[in-house]
Amino acid sequence: MLDITKLSVGYGAIAAVKEVSLQVPQGRVVSIIGANGAGKSTLLKAVSGLVKQKSGRILFDGRNISDLPADRIVGLGLSQVAEGRQIFAHMSVADNIQLGAYLYYSRRNRGEIRERIDHVYAMFPILAKRAKQIAGSLSGGEQQMLAIGRALLTRPKLLVLDEPSMGLAPIVVHDIFHTIARLNQDGMTILLVEQNARAALRIADFAYVLETGQVALEGPAAKLINDPKVKAAYLGG
């Protein structure tokens, strides 16, 4: 579904991502793990169109999206939940979710939008309870749920999550990963970028280890989780 070939991205002279190739097959959870500054977020920003790549090719659903702006890529069904819970902090929870449907919002689609919103509320009942509240007043975990919920409203075929566990309490992290696993069971293809390697490898089918902008290791997640090198570097021995 997502096919990246020899992608390089850089800010100025520094290359943050060097010739990375990776694939996300339909229906799978693929994870990218790596330390802080390994280039994970830069890679995702290039995929979603927020930054321009230097070279390489990104195919999504067989279509070259390398040069499309972010707002067009969303329309094709690639939705990113950005790092640090990028919500509309001064708007209500309900408005945040509704804006996920911005691209196809019309009277004709009202039924579908209602259904998708109800689905999100069923998945995260706390959001329904706080629908009228200002999004900035939610807790970190709730904001992450809101960001995921809003992304689900964009009709995604591929959901890209950037560090969903960042800054959250362990119990909340557990909930979020449980949700991600459930989304995948319902058929969603997921690309998950994480520093929390243990949690990510547990729900992923396949994983890539990124080090200083390059793919250092790749393989089935079940294999990587027992790999001595991965264990030593990312799983705390």
Binding site: R72, V74, Q80, I87, F88, D95, Q98, T154
Partner: protein, 312 residues
């Protein structure tokens, strides 16, 4: 010899009762204030989406008045078509301004963009002077000039049009920004531009829309005020200062704040000029503005946390 103000006020009281006079100043002040409020709303729309203070906002008002004079008086279009075509033309100016004056700037920072709006305002003013010359123009009042007497207070019918349009603009915008998906998308751009892109909002389109909308509201202010105060090419800057003062006083970015700030500045100006010294008419409002900002830096209805959060 000139008597102190209180003696002159007392002398004036002989002819008309003081209370009636104060009421008259209030009515005039509210009308002028409604104009300032519309200018302030124009500032807020662009500020909310882009954080730019559009210092050409007063030029939209000036153009609204002069284009309306051209359409209605020179071309002879009836009121409603003249009104609508003026809005359309001034909106076009706003769109061209965004396309040529704002978007073409490389490596834009909020500050350079604000300077760019100053440049645009000078250009618009210059072109207006070439087209219309330096003399002021009058416009027939929308529904005649027979004053309405309320007690001893004289209300021009045009005053009611001005205040009426302020209400229409305020209600319309509140609905637009809180109830429609397009309005919410515009607010989302102001809130978090990169998150807006990630849900598929074309941020540049929203910026363009904010300029068009601001220009349209400026045009409405200009068209409704011209029958009361005439219009010439040079009026934009002072209107922008008063409107900006109103926006700051009420709290930059807040629509209820813009209305409150505008009406307050209009009232202070009118009462100050009428009861104290009329020569300082333009100073009263700005003195009050400074005083309020010393006490509440975010304006009356502004949110301090939001103010700190913004880059400018």
């Amino acid at each position: 010899m000139r008597h102190p103000w209180f003696i002159r006020a007392a002398q004036r009281m002989n002819s008309i009762s003081f209370a009636t006079q104060v009421l008259q100043f209030i009515v005039t002040g509210l009308t002028v204030g409604a104009i300032y409020a519309m200018v302030a709303i124009g500032f807020n729309i662009i500020y909310n989406v882009t954080e730019i203070i559009n210092l050409a906002q007063g030029e939209f008002v000036m153009l609204g008045g002069l284009v309306m004079v051209f359409m209605h008086v020179s071309v002879g279009l009836p009121l409603v078509p003249a009104f609508l075509s003026t809005i359309f033309l001034v909106m076009l100016v706003g769109i061209v301004m965004d396309r040529l004056g704002i978007r073409t700037i490389r490596k834009p920072s909020v500050m350079t963009l604000i300077i760019a709006t100053v440049a645009v305002s000078i250009i618009i003013k210059g072109v207006a002077m070439l087209l219309w010359g330096k003399s002021p123009y009058d416009l027939p009042a929308f529904s005649g000039r027979t004053p309405i007497q309320l007690g001893g207070v004289v209300v021009q019918p045009q005053y009611l049009w001005v205040i009426g349009f302020l209400i229409v603009v305020a209600v319309g915008l509140t609905y637009f920004f809180n109830r429609t998906i397009l309005g919410k998308a515009m607010r989302a751009c102001a809130d978090n531009p990169s998150a807006a892109r990630l849900v598929g909002i074309d941020v540049e389109k929203m910026v363009l829309l904010s300029f068009a909308l601001s220009a349209a509201i400026g045009a409405v202010a200009g068209m409704t005020m011209t029958p009361i105060a005439l219009m010439d090419y040079d009026r934009g800057a002072m209107l922008a200062i008063k409107g900006f003062g109103a926006a700051i006083l009420g709290g930059l970015g807040s629509f209820p704040g813009a209305i409150l700030g505008g009406l307050l500045i209009g009232l202070i100006e009118s009462l100050g000029a009428g009861l104290l010294l009329s020569g300082y008419k333009d100073a009263y409002a700005l003195i009050i503005l400074l005083a309020v900002l010393f006490v509440r830096p975010s304006g009356i209805l502004g949110n301090l946390q939001v103010t700190k959060f913004k880059r400018f």
